[in-house]
Amino acid sequence: MNKVLFFAHLRDAVGEEFITIDASGRTVADLKQMVLEKYTSVNLENVMTAINEEFASDDDMIHEGSEIAFIPPVSGG
């Protein structure tokens, strides 16, 4: 299983800080599709993805137990 974290406007749209979902063996792009189908109000445009706290690309593979986070454009500082 995989923990999938949402932040900022994504958290507001999903209504959860995180969900648990089985995405192992799939790519980041696959997971994005799964999320978009489940949460129709979510917009993943311009949203980065992190796997285990490192930025990842759409074609990176998700492994069992990996923590995924969707990272909207950051605005710290």
């Binding site: 900022a8 980065m48 706290e53 930025f55 909207p72 454009p73 950051v74 710290g76 500082g77």
Partner: protein
Amino acid sequence: MNYAISKEPINVQEVIDKVVQREAGAITTFIGTVRELTHGKKTLYLIYEAYEPMAVKKLEQIGNEIKERWHGAEVAITHRVGKLDITDVAVVIAVSTPHRADAYEANRYAIERIKEIVPIWKKEHWEDGQEWIGNQLETVAYPKGKPEESDLHE
């Protein structure tokens, strides 16, 4: 630890103390504060939220990038999360170097990188509404697979 996310008000001197070194002739600090007016709109307060473990890692990465580029630099960064009022301190960056030009340049580099790669978000609260900053920038794209710098502070 030199890189931290803090739920409590940041003590600037504590961040500075982390970079004091006998080889340093210069310490620069950047203190990001909550400004009342942005593009003429009056902010009441901000909420900062972080993906905390990754944010700390990314702050540390920025520190390491600086140490590679500027010889003898020491770096400490603390970013606040939670509700911040006008003039509250959101971030403190301290950089010490043997020579002063480096201390300015390396410090500037740190804040620009924070706005690119550190997973922290702010929600602005105005009299007539609220919004997560960053998400309304429809021109933003990630051609290099990384967030582009938000120009909202500029």
